[in-house]
């Protein structure tokens, strides 16, 4: 931890970064904070807690205002995957971001059912193996179609339309959200029109979702949203060989056909 603080301090003092987005502990509560040269004293309160805030989402707000500054940010595996996707979507310039990587603990990895609980580069913590757990998907897959529909309509009908799943999502960076398009989904209703509200969001997550699970954590209605997005994420991998958050140079096959001839992956035609 002391190394981490020193590292950040050096980067701020040398001007390598203009700010460092991390978390501080205030009266026992970890909250996001941007360290700058003027607030080095706050580094004492720097913390790597067992709860997560949407760091890259916050980062975007800062980057939008300071597009030319280099900014450091504490990233876990999920945040790091978000960085990769944000770069693909031209929301950040990777050259101007200094990720300080934190490897999650075994407990956290298990709590988050995280398949890759560590970032590309680890500055703090010990790398632990990811959790391979698709029990949430299996639970749904074990039902027949009509039970599934009952299950999901039951889940969706709890929705209070807080938009928390979208608000907390690192990949929901649009200024205007299609979920609020009143020609597509009626406004002013809670629950919103189901299942379209949730399915549109799910489809938008194809090629975007980095499987951090913050959406589900933020859902006051306890809808198992993440499994929807995990499903499309899995489909993107299965059918199109595309996994988000892995490589900045890869392109989303739902938009990009590839430059060397157009081919239909064989598995697709079996559907």
């Amino acid at each position: 931890m002391e190394n981490l603080k020193k590292n950040i301090k050096d980067m701020l003092e040398s001007g390598e970064i203009a700010g460092f987005l991390g978390l501080i502990e205030e009266e026992g509560h970890p909250i996001p904070f941007l360290f700058t040269k003027d607030s080095l004293d706050k580094l004492d309160a720097l913390t790597v807690p067992d709860i997560r805030y949407p760091m890259t989402d916050i980062l975007l707000k800062i980057v939008r205002k300071y597009p030319e500054d280099t900014i450091g940010v504490m990233v876990r595996g999920c945040d790091d995957r978000a960085l990769i996707e944000l770069a693909k979507n031209q929301k950040i310039l990777s050259d101007l971001i200094r990720p300080i990587g934190v490897a999650c603990t075994k407990e956290m990895a298990e709590y988050c059912r995280c398949s890759q609980p560590y970032p590309r580069e680890i500055h703090y913590g010990e790398k632990v193996e990811g959790v391979k757990d698709r029990s949430d998907l299996e639970k749904v897959e074990s039902m027949d179609l009509s039970d599934r529909l009952d299950y999901w309509m039951g889940q969706f009908s709890k929705c209070i339309k807080c938009y928390g799943c979208r608000n907390i999502c690192s990949m929901c960076f649009c200024d205007q959200c299609t979920l609020e398009d009143d020609t597509l989904i009626l406004t002013g209703q809670a629950p919103p029109e189901i299942p379209i509200f949730h399915l549109i969001r799910a489809f938008h997550m194809a090629g975007r979702c980095i499987d951090c699970g913050l959406c589900e954590e933020a859902c006051p209605a306890h809808i198992p949203l993440r499994s929807l997005y995990r499903k499309v994420r899995e489909d993107m991998a299965d059918y199109l060989g595309y996994v988000t958050g892995m490589d900045e140079t890869e392109r989303d096959p739902l938009e990009f056909l590839g430059s060397d001839g157009y081919e239909v992956p064989t598995k697709i035609d079996e559907t």
């Binding site: 203009a18 009266e27 006051p220």
Partner: protein, 135 residues
Amino acid sequence: MEYQTVRTTCTYCGTGCGVLLEVLDGEVIGTLPQKDHPINEGKLCIKGWNAHEFIYADGRLTKPLIRKGDKLEEASWDEALQYVAKRFLELKEKYGPDSLGCFSSAKCTNEENYLLQKIFRAVIGTNNVDHCARL
């Protein structure tokens, strides 16, 4: 470049959810649910998520106003406070303390409610103090 989050309580209903107001360079730019708050545990409703939106809304009052004829005109604090004190004391003098009253507010803090009722009970001398809890 200054960004911090301020732990506070949502102002929209009695549930009392913990929120973080995001402040960038002295401007509130967003609301986040406080992840470790015992009530909302990192969740919020639509009003909570947008609790910051009204802060800079058009029409926020920034100056005391005093009625001059049909119009409310800007005034200094000193002028406004003196005027309020003078008129209330005059009316108390003329019609007695029970000719005055106040509506306190369920939107305001405990401290503010305490102070307002203290003004009316201790300074004016009336129990004509109520608020909209029943409304």
